[in-house]
């Protein structure tokens, strides 16, 4: 069907679209793929001819319905294999990514389905990322409060519940902004505070804060 390289581009576009909630620029994609912008342009043209992406010169790129579906299937396989490696083969959650990068390209619908069944249709991979089902649906709620996340879960900051200027200024001061990745490193049971990772910095926040930040997971 599609080459490894094509699938990797689709996956990267998928992640960037969701991260920035917008079309994806050539440069952003080049950075994500660790390659040169010129290579990205070449590949985008190819994907465009195959109707996997919508592309207008200089206007960035976004996934077509087919491209979206294809990307989700690759992500599904990646996360199922990660789950398999950790749950069945005694891998640690930090060792599985590179192997899953290889396994995600194996072509066999039956294999994916049987693996899913064998694993008991898991809803999240070892990193807390949701695993889409065979139809591509992420059954796990997509947008939730930061306070609802558990340890080691992560998401992208997509909104605020409290939009008072006091709260917003607090966010500015602490460099919390929409579009940023947030990961829960620790969670204190007794007061609901948590240690989060945001842009490579660790930050401890109270439950009042985490209760007012919307996080989009996956």
């Amino acid at each position: 069907m599609f080459s490894f390289s094509e699938e990797n581009y689709l996956k990267a576009i998928f992640h960037l679209e969701r991260k920035y909630q917008a079309g994806v620029s050539t440069n952003a994609l080049a950075e994500e793929m660790d390659t040169k912008a010129s290579s990205v342009t070449d590949m985008i043209k190819k994907l465009s001819e195959k109707e996997l992406v919508i592309y207008k010169k200089y206007q960035g790129v976004k996934l077509s319905e087919l491209g979206d579906k294809t990307a989700i299937q690759v992500i599904r396989k990646h996360r199922l294999w990660e789950y398999f490696l950790v749950e069945k083969l005694n891998f640690n959650w930090d060792e599985v990514h590179d192997i899953a990068e290889q396994l995600e390209h194996i072509k066999s619908e039956k294999l994916t389905h049987e693996l899913d069944k064998f694993l008991g249709f898991p809803k999240r991979d070892p990193h807390g990322d949701p695993i889409p089902d065979a139809e591509g649906n992420f059954s796990v709620a997509n947008k939730m409060l930061l306070s609802e996340l558990g340890k080691a879960e992560k998401g992208i900051c997509v909104g605020v519940k409290d939009s008072s200027s006091e709260f917003l200024r607090f966010l500015d001061k602490n460099n919390i902004a929409l579009g940023k990745d947030i990961k829960v490193l620790e969670k204190e049971a007794f007061d609901g505070s948590m240690l989060i990772l945001i842009e490579e910095r660790e930050l401890r926040i109270s439950q009042l804060i985490s209760n007012n930040l919307y996080i989009k997971i996956q």
Copy 2:
């Protein structure tokens, strides 16, 4: 390490070497790989530069120690994955080959070892082919009497126990010769006779016959 294509060539050379107990010709390899002789020559040169094969122009090719080791590791992965698919994921033994052709190229020693352990260190794949261990040893006896094979097992005819001219003429008449593939299709418990497949022909032979033919498996 090595590309999918390189690994596939090594595997093919391995099988042909054992089948004909000799160096492998360019044409034989082209047929096995379903490609053109000129493509084979190109690849052989590349493998030779990487010291995976011993090659002299017009003299055919054979695996170096490194090439042999590499081929066996690919075969090991192929057969472990086949076992996994049948034993854990409810595949039928006739559905697994193409998927294992993909999975055999996944690079991770730890994965291979953990998979082996998870499966209980199986000795044979679903087709009866022996699975080499991590050191590349085929623990299963290599040469055995045809009568010792079970249903669905197969091997290459490599010798006779009874070398009387009567027996040899019988073999000639029935087109059984050294180097030919033999597969056991059925085995009758009550008289030890078996139905075998040899060069796309089915043949029923008595236990007296199967007891005097050496088969090399794997």
